[in-house]
Amino acid sequence: MTNVARSAQVLLIAASSMLFAAFTSAMVVRRGIGGDWAAPPLPAWVLPTILFAPLASWLLHQRRVKPAMAAGAALVAAQIALLAHFRMAVIGEAFCAVLIAVHALHAAAGVLALGRFGASAAIFWHFVGLLWIYVLFLFGVWA
């Protein structure tokens, strides 16, 4: 991996982290002052998707780019299916839908990046995996 590719990914991760931090702090504030918060219901089948992160990173570590892309695509498909569960008029579910959709965009971008740049896009790919654990934690535990 070239230095340029590494720096670009680190910066991209910085920007994405900021993006998620902004959404998260909005959620913390909104939950705190709204008085209408209810935990968003997550279907049980979401839980196993937590394995996506270790799986995706492991696959890439083995230089198996195509299977890693397939794992990413499967996650995006699951996320799209998940979106149908939420009602936008209920605030906790709306936040959940937004963060999942934004994560899906990142995962899709990660898949495309793997297709285009192969294993050079690994750093971003690991980040996408970690981010998914974060989102699941946010809604599965904290919210």
Binding site: A8, A22, F23, R30, G34, D36, A89, I91
Partner: protein, 528 residues
């Protein structure tokens, strides 16, 4: 020169052209507003022609006034002040100054520009859709911006387009920021350390760092606002609202949450506008004093400090929002602390001039004008940074005067300085010096005549964003002042035609420039 070029020089010029186009629209809108403020009851054919619904029979509605104000502010802040100093000059000269062949990602660079152009078109489209342009200002506070058509013409599709435009602008700016930072980190010429870079590069560097974090927060704000409008969510819409006699069903949202997200971006944004100018002014002052910049390292560190502090002062835009007085004190102290690196820069500029052999070129005039405006506008910042005073001044013309002097005009003076200074590289010719100096003196007089009196309107408590002052007894006394200000605005706008003429004429007919006409030491003069 192809349209979808990936060459950094072409892209730089494209950004500058986009700004130049935008700035004249922005100026036109401001003239219409200034005219209306002093002739609120006059019917104008042209208004009716341009905005049949907004000015029926030529009589401007209050809503039309607010939509002009929104578009003026948005165009100027995003497509002029954020675009030329960073993306225009930066793209053209950063690679040249650090000895890089091009930006790190030329295709991404091209995409950034075209996304910006699309963003501008999306914004301008708001003028032409049903209801016209939005009314909620460049700050787009909900609930006004979050409820749709019911809150006024322009609050339907016009406001949707506005948000979409800003979201596109965020994406373009994030791509550009990554490109700038990677270029600086990885593509500096062998042996060039960070503290060997010209201060212009420091300006672009810090600005890109700020953009990376600031636009990543505005984007979520925009997304959530759009969902409030289109998907029925209540992120920012509080309960119990009655709009135009209709009870709104949404509840639980917080308009203040949007203000926090907006100003977490908004304050750093003002530095995005000014920091590239600070870098450029340092270079111009040093070249035309025949001396090195005084305190180079302190200048670079001051920029980093300004950029860093810029992220922890946003609350000073919200002193009257009902925040705890303890938060106010914290934001106030941090805000005033920005004065320290700002003063470091100002004194170093003066010290750079001290004992130098000054050459009063047109670029030097603008650079000195920049320093003057930065001081005049900065001092009122220190006034506004104190909650006790800001509670009174907030949302008055005092704030309008402050930010126009420091953000609007100072940054524009940096743009003029940069164009005069670098024109020989960009076009192989000089901008006409005599005409440039004439334009400088007239503009300098014009901006002070326009904006200094507005401080006094602020003292009287004259609110901003009001379309018609004569409705208020206590504002009768300031009408003569407003008449003067409007005349200054006409004068200032007319004078800008001198510059436009100089620019277009000199591109083809200006005096041919030798290789390094100013005797500068930075690389861009060697490469070309």
């Amino acid at each position: 020169m192809t349209v979808f070029s990936t060459c950094h020089k072409v892209i730089g010029k494209q950004y500058i052209a986009l700004s130049l186009f935008s700035v004249f629209i922005g100026i036109f809108l401001s003239l219409v507003m200034r005219y209306h403020l002093v002739h609120p009851d006059t019917k104008v054919k042209l208004f009716q022609l341009l905005w049949p619904d907004g000015a029926p029979g030529g009589q401007m509605t209050p809503e039309l006034y607010l939509s002009l104000m929104t578009m003026h502010g948005t165009i100027m802040v995003f497509f002029v002040l954020t675009t030329t100093p960073q993306s225009g000059f930066g793209n053209y000269f950063l690679p040249l100054q650090i000895g890089a062949p091009d930006m790190a990602f030329p295709v991404l660079n091209m995409l950034s520009f075209w996304t910006t152009a699309l963003s501008l078109l999306t914004l301008l489209a708001a003028f032409f859709v049903e209801g016209g342009a939005p009314l909620s200002g460049w700050t787009a506070y909900p609930p006004l911006s979050g409820l749709g058509k019911i809150t006024g013409p322009g609050q339907g599709l016009g406001q949707d387009l506005w948000i979409l435009s800003i979201a596109l602008f965020c994406v373009a700016s994030l791509m550009a920021a990554i490109n700038f930072i990677v270029t600086i980190i990885e593509l500096r010429a062998p042996g060039m350390g960070y503290f060997d870079m010209p201060l212009t590069c420091w300006g672009w560097f810090v600005t890109a760092l700020i953009s990376l974090f600031a636009f990543a927060v505005l984007l979520p704000g925009g997304v959530l606002l759009l969902l409030d409008r289109l998907a029925g969510t209540s992120f920012f819409i509080p309960g119990g609202l009655i709009v135009n006699d209709q009870v709104q069903t949404r509840s639980g949202g917080s308009p203040l949450l949007f203000q926090h997200l907006f100003w977490f971006f908004g304050h750093p944004e003002v530095y995005i506008a000014i920091l590239p100018g600070m870098g450029l002014i340092s270079t111009v002052l040093s070249v035309f004093s025949g001396k090195r910049v005084f305190g180079y390292k302190a200048m670079a560190i001051a920029m980093l400090a300004i950029g860093g502090l810029g992220f922890v002062v946003w609350g000073h835009h919200m002193f009257i929002s009902g925040m705890s007085p303890y938060s106010s004190i914290a934001f106030s102290v941090l805000t005033l602390a920005v004065g320290v690196p700002s003063a470091v820069k100002t004194f170093n500029w003066l010290a750079t001039l001290w004992g130098g052999r000054l050459r009063f070129t047109a670029a030097m005039h603008y650079a000195l004008g920049f320093v003057s405006l930065f001081i005049t506008g900065g001092i009122t910042g220190l006034v506004l940074g104190q909650p006790g005073l800001d509670v009174y001044f907030h949302d008055t013309y005092f704030v309008v005067a402050h930010f126009h002097l420091i953000m609007g005009v100072a940054a524009v003076f940096a743009i003029f300085a940069g164009l005069h200074y670098w024109f020989p590289i960009m076009y192989g010719r000089f901008l006409n010096e005599q005409l440039g100096k004439l334009h400088f003196f007239l503009t300098f007089a014009g901006v002070y005549a326009l904006f200094v009196p507005l401080h006094f309107a602020g003292f009287v408590g004259n609110p901003r964003r009001y379309p018609d002052f004569k409705e208020y007894e206590f504002l009768k006394s300031v009408m003569p002042l407003h008449i003067g200000v409007t005349h200054a605005a006409y004068f200032l706008a007319a004078v800008q035609l001198l510059f436009l003429f100089n620019y277009l004429w000199s591109k083809r007919r200006g005096a041919l420039a030798p290789a390094n006409p100013w005797g500068a030491a930075t690389r861009e003069w060697r490469n070309d």
